[in-house]
């Protein structure tokens, strides 16, 4: 038995299923059970209106529909690669919806659900995975940074940004996204040290999705990730990452504390990557099908649907309308991707510097002349 297993309460949420060892309350903040039952938590209560609940469901469903379409487009050769968020919709939508407009999010390369909540056009995300650009959205206007691919590097950016907020006297916060694998990176540990020593208004949102590509948590940590926070001197909270209400409540509270000058928080969102790491990955090499089946019973969308239905807050017509909206979205995205123009070759030169250098200008001119040579 590993230290992690000893440190967490081991239960089997689905009798008979070969489920991984899952934590349960009170170590895990949960406000909506996998069966769609509302729970109360002494530290994290949330008051959500029927409209808000339906809107959360809509976000979850549309983000999944987008993700499914993107995976299909990759399989059809229209995207070079796709990093699917399947299974992590609640973690991302919950965290994204906790942000205020003037807060700033620092994503990894999988935070499509957060992008959605920041009103980033999905096509601007897909153009990155098609290879047309490095992400076409405006990171300052959307308050959603460009995707950062080197693991964990963005945690320091978020911390520095938060130090800027402090100097500006701004009442807003930074939200850094990371995965379980990233917690092994030196830069992530440095970010935690900087955030705490400067009391920076930054929240670290770690989606523990069970695998760093193929490697399980035992290779990253011998304590639950949220418990690491104590050693750095910041609060650590573990939330059910498949429970959008709990994620929303926990992240809202952490961001509010940061904005009020109470310093950083580390959130571990306990979730599961139901898809492959990316479309280039083969998860059958490192995990059992039964594990995925068990997690399907903890699906982040199904529980919201169950709660909405059972409590009478949404009727079949509502769900049908969201489904139809999802299909419209998928059609728009498919059309948008297929119609995406390739970038001009000279673009590679034009944004390297704010002030173009003479040698690079010369290379650019040679590039143009070389290609014009084929036209005559």
């Amino acid at each position: 038995m590993t230290a992690l297993q000893q440190a967490t309460e081991v239960v089997d949420p689905v009798p008979g299923a070969d489920a991984p060892h899952l934590p349960t309350p009170p170590d895990l903040v949960q406000l909506l059970t996998p069966e769609g039952q509302r729970l109360e938590h002494p530290d994290y209560s949330i008051d959500v209106s029927a409209d808000e609940l339906r809107s959360l469901y809509r976000d979850l469903a549309l983000v999944r529909r987008w993700d499914v379409e993107a995976t299909a487009l990759q399989r059809q050769g229209e995207l070079g690669i796709w990093a699917s968020l399947l299974g992590q919709e609640a973690a991302q939508v919950g965290a994204g919806r906790a942000l205020r407009p003037d807060d700033m999010a620092f994503p990894t390369y999988r935070e499509h659900g957060v992008a959605w909540t920041r009103d980033v056009d999905p096509l601007h995300v897909m153009s990155l995975f098609r290879g047309s650009d490095m992400g076409g959205w405006d990171p300052l206007a959307t308050r959603f940074n460009l995707y950062t691919v080197v693991i964990g590097a963005q945690c320091l950016h978020a911390t520095g940004y938060a130090m800027g907020l402090q100097r500006d006297g701004a009442e807003s916060a930074a939200l850094a996204f990371l995965g379980d694998g990233a917690t092994s990176q030196g830069e992530v540990n440095e970010a935690l040290i900087w955030a705490t020593t400067f009391d920076a208004p930054v929240v670290f949102f770690c989606q523990y999705n069970q695998y760093a590509i193929s490697v399980p948590i035992e290779r990253q940590s011998n304590v639950p990730l949220y418990q690491r926070a104590a050693g750095f001197g910041l609060p650590g909270v573990r939330v059910d990452g498949n429970d959008v209400l709990a994620v929303l409540a926990v992240t809202r509270a952490a961001l509010a504390a940061a904005r009020e000058g109470q310093g950083p928080t580390f959130i571990e969102a306990f979730t599961y990557r139901m898809g492959a790491h990316t479309t280039s990955d083969d998860p059958t090499r490192y995990r059992l099908a039964s594990e995925l089946e068990a997690w399907k019973l903890r699906d982040p969308i199904a529980r919201v649907k169950a709660y909405l239905s059972r409590s009478g807050l949404a009727d079949p017509a509502f769900f049908a309308a969201v489904d139809a909206e999802g299909d419209e979205l998928a059609a728009r995205l498919r059309q948008g991707v297929l119609g995406m123009a390739d970038p001009a070759g000279t673009e590679i030169f034009d944004s390297v510097y704010a002030e173009m250098t003479p040698p690079l200008a010369q290379q650019r001119a040679e590039f143009v002349a070389y290609h014009q040579g084929f036209e005559s």
């Binding site: 700033m104 650009d133 490095m134 992400g135 405006d138 990171p139 300052l140 940074n145 460009l146 950062t148 080197v150 590097a153 945690c155 320091l156 950016h157 978020a158 911390t159 520095g160 940004y161 938060a162 130090m163 800027g164 907020l165 402090q166 100097r167 500006d168 930074a174 030196g186 830069e187 440095e190 970010a191 040290i193 900087w194 020593t197 673009e347 034009d350 944004s351 390297v352 510097y353 704010a354 002030e355 250098t357 003479p358 040698p359 690079l360």
Partner: protein, 326 residues
């Protein structure tokens, strides 16, 4: 203000002070730069006058310095990061190369990165491992970064201000063994451009190129050569990325001979790039191949051997002789 005699280190200190007075967004970050004033005292007195929010004693983590500088730059600040010694830049290498250098291009210009990374570089001070290295080629090889190396107090005073005002990330290399060299600095003068090389001694027989700490060495060599009737033209390259080689080409077209001098190891160093460019551009003017004088392709040696490792007056003159004899 007026003309006064300043050491290179003091010129940097005054240049930083003036940059901080001119722009409240300038923030200094580094290890021991506050109360101590930096291990070389370059930031001496600045925290006292500008406060702990603008002169930040950071945790001992170089990646943290550069990584948080990125976030501060996104908030409109102009971070000036001090790396305590050249060999300590490598923990920050990831942030510098994968983030600082690339964010402007990644964002297609929406996220400018006006970050300055000050690095005391080069040897000759009798120090232990990692305190005497010349890492400039790593940064000059990285698109998105600009790299300059100052050689004298005047360039130090103006150059640091120009680097801070520049909209792109600048690796600012300070010749640590020349920190105590003095020169007259007119603080009311109008400085020349930062990203430009400069002929610092005219001559007819051989063009010799250097930057940072080697400029003084080469000027001494030129003095010695003159006594033997050989006229060396000396160019202080000043900017290593972008290179400004037009003055070099003009010179080599006249002299027909070119020697490049740097402390960094020869293989794939700046000299290799310059030799290639000079050969491509001045091929028909050359009387001899472009020669390089540099550190050997070894780790920087224990300090008892650094005199043998570092190019000195004699090794420069030896290369000049070989060029003339070709």
């Amino acid at each position: 203000m007026s003309t006064e005699t300043l050491s290179l280190g003091k010129a940097l200190n005054l240049g930083l002070r003036r940059a901080m007075e001119d722009d409240p967004k300038v923030v200094l970050m580094g290890e021991d730069i506050g109360r101590l004033g930096g291990v070389f005292r370059i930031t001496d007195g600045l925290q006292k006058d500008f406060g702990e929010d603008r002169v930040v004693d950071t945790p001992l983590a170089e990646a943290g310095i550069l990584g948080t500088a990125v976030g501060l730059a996104m908030r409109g600040y102009r971070p000036v990061c001090e790396i305590q010694f050249d060999g300590f830049v490598f923990p920050a290498y990831n942030q510098l190369v994968t983030q600082v250098a690339k964010i402007h291009a990644r964002s297609r210009g929406k996220l400018p990165m006006p970050i300055v990374v000050r690095i005391p570089f080069g040897g000759g001070i009798g120090a232990v491992e990692h305190h005497s290295e010349s890492p400039e080629a790593y940064f000059a090889h990285t698109a998105g970064l600009k790299v300059v190396a100052v050689s004298n107090p005047v360039d130090a005073y103006w150059g640091i201000q120009q680097a801070i005002a520049a909209p792109d990330p600048v690796v600012f290399l300070e010749p640590k063994r020349r920190y105590w060299e003095k020169a007259s600095v007119d603080r009311d003068a109008t400085p020349g451009p930062l990203f430009a090389s400069r002929v610092v001694r005219g001559g007819d027989d051989v063009t010799v190129l250097a930057y940072g700490p080697m400029v003084k060495t080469v000027l001494q060599a030129a003095e010695a050569a003159a006594e033997e009737g050989r006229s060396l033209e000396v160019v202080d390259l000043r900017t290593l990325s972008p290179l400004d080689l037009e003055p070099v080409y003009d010179s080599v077209r006249r002299t027909g001979r070119c020697v490049v001098v740097h402390e960094a190891p020869l293989t794939l160093g700046l000299g290799a790039e310059i030799a290639a460019r000079v050969t491509e551009t001045c091929f028909h003017s050359l009387e001899a191949p472009v020669l390089r004088v540099g550190g050997y392709d070894t780790p920087y040696p224990p300090s008892k051997l650094e005199e043998e490792y570092l190019p000195d007056l004699d090794r420069v003159l030896d290369a000049v002789d070989r060029s003339l004899a070709f």
